[in-house]
Symmetry: C2
Amino acid sequence: MPDNITDLEVRALVDGVNLSDGHPRMSLSTSQSEIIAAFPEVFAHTRKLPVDVVEKSARAAFLSSLGQHSALDEEISFRSCYSSSTAIDMIGKAIRLAGRPVAMVEPTFDNLHDLLAGHGLRIRSVAETALASGPLDDIPPPGGVLFIVSPNNPTGTVLAAERLRDIAAACAERGTVLVIDSCFRAQDLRAQYDMYAVLGDFALDWVIIEDTGKLWPLQELKTGFLNWNAGNPLPLARMYSDHMLSASPFILRVVELFAEDGRHGGYDQLRDGIQRNRALARDNINLPPAYPDSRISVDTFRLPAGVAANALYTDLGEVGVHVLPGELFYWEQPNLGTDLIRISLARDPEAVVTGCQRVDQHLEAWRRVVIR
Amino acid sequence: MPDNITDLEVRALVDGVNLSDGHPRMSLSTSQSEIIAAFPEVFAHTRKLPVDVVEKSARAAFLSSLGQHSALDEEISFRSCYSSSTAIDMIGKAIRLAGRPVAMVEPTFDNLHDLLAGHGLRIRSVAETALASGPLDDIPPPGGVLFIVSPNNPTGTVLAAERLRDIAAACAERGTVLVIDSCFRAQDLRAQYDMYAVLGDFALDWVIIEDTGKLWPLQELKTGFLNWNAGNPLPLARMYSDHMLSASPFILRVVELFAEDGRHGGYDQLRDGIQRNRALARDNINLPPAYPDSRISVDTFRLPAGVAANALYTDLGEVGVHVLPGELFYWEQPNLGTDLIRISLARDPEAVVTGCQRVDQHLEAWRRVVIR
């Protein structure tokens, strides 16, 4: 099998300037450091509490801090998972058991597609542009599953509330389960309208994945929350209980404390840091940004004609700079991504500047060779 | 779908005396508490190291502390997972892609079977007694997968090195991939011969799951290690990279420190505590132990004729004592487990004594009713 994005990201973990994976690797803020300094007390605290109390409390803090108040409705089922990928894999397993066809947004992070494809699902590509505007008649597979991502990675595209309403109506009409991966929600205020309230207006089956893994430099101490409506036809509860008993109460409490810190300025700081790094990246690479409006913690640049992303990726790896080639995000039509590279902004500014300068130097050298 | 073991365990997390799940919930030792007191320093330390360095170091400490020295051979592939269940689910997904039939030991923890069955695999039952002795001719499915557990849960049965050698030879001859779940290895010295050295003597494809999740009361901070031989036909590396980038470096380092503590007396303390709790349980329930030689952190009792485990489970739940009914471990032939209940010993002694006394009182009352 060819390498997937994660394979390339693993290589980047080993050495050099890693602008490859989207995992947060920036420095901690002062108040975040204070939470970590209190880890022993956090551990002692959660030891004494029933797991379901800790779980509900973490989820309430996290989702309400992102405007998702209707997610806390008693009717809605939820589970805390090791990660959003764990949640997505459970969804894929449940879809296979239910025998439903799937349509999924393209481009998007390839592991979303691959996690589902590993279950042998039939997956049709839906262009992100077609999700964002235009007629919806042909998009929700009747009796199937529509899997979308908002904000989407790598484009940063956010579905507006009105458009989500139209998509929900189309799915409800066709008996399509609407699955939404919202893992980057905290990074973009435009994604923080009450999505659960919007969906709740329809006789619709839906699943939403929320996640803390993209936000805080917590060394993979994270939780994915899997949420679904009462009566959902996918056997999610069973797929979950086959896999796990509960997320770690310790991690859940850390998530709660980071979410509270987020609510009191931490999220603003997170978003400011990302936007500053985005400006630095754009200043230090002489290439046009592919998605100018993106607010998530990655940025994507369009390469000059004649430079193929995959070849550039290999060259840059040799000089110790790790980025991601655009082909991999186009899981159905890789040729649409050959002129794109994605870099991660969830780093300290120096790493972003150093990495971008090396990319730019490399491209300058290439330009000189081509011109000569 | 009927409830599985984890569903029942979730109910037990909420209230009462929980002798249901096998997750470790006993008090920490002094030296373990010291590691937790140093969590902030552990976090700061692993922030500075490459992930693969932390990962290799944790695995080396853990596996060598359990006698699995040949596991560290350069030729052997490994990955650190969120949990052993994550590893097993990846194996199931890989088996489905490879299209192999599976044979699995019975009885065993039902989620092992259910995780694989959720992938739509054909699974044949192999009696644990047939694995332990007798002819092996009909056991490894030719071109398939044989999935065994040693030490097994709930029986505590350990495959001796000589018998493992015979099973490995039979699998090698038939092109069967041998999968071994060794998650309870630390609890039984009889399981700590160098299993990887034994398997390495054969032209055999194998997978071994090691796990820290059953050992230490770390609130689900744990790691499953997925190990396999070079050239293994199951696409494990890809299933892994679709799902995750790496385990948490923080958790890996905690695992390393707990393993080092284990090597210097912690494992002896763990095993002593389990054996003391086993003696207390047997003293406080007037029922014969079903598996007298077991050394793992659960114990199983045989019910008097006329008491069905499922009915007893329900009755005990009403008085706030949570155990597990034996039916669930016999995933193919539940009728073989109707006279068994399993309790967890990974608790503080008071919980074991209180829970067992309540079970016994309940059975005494039942006996009086029946005799009268």
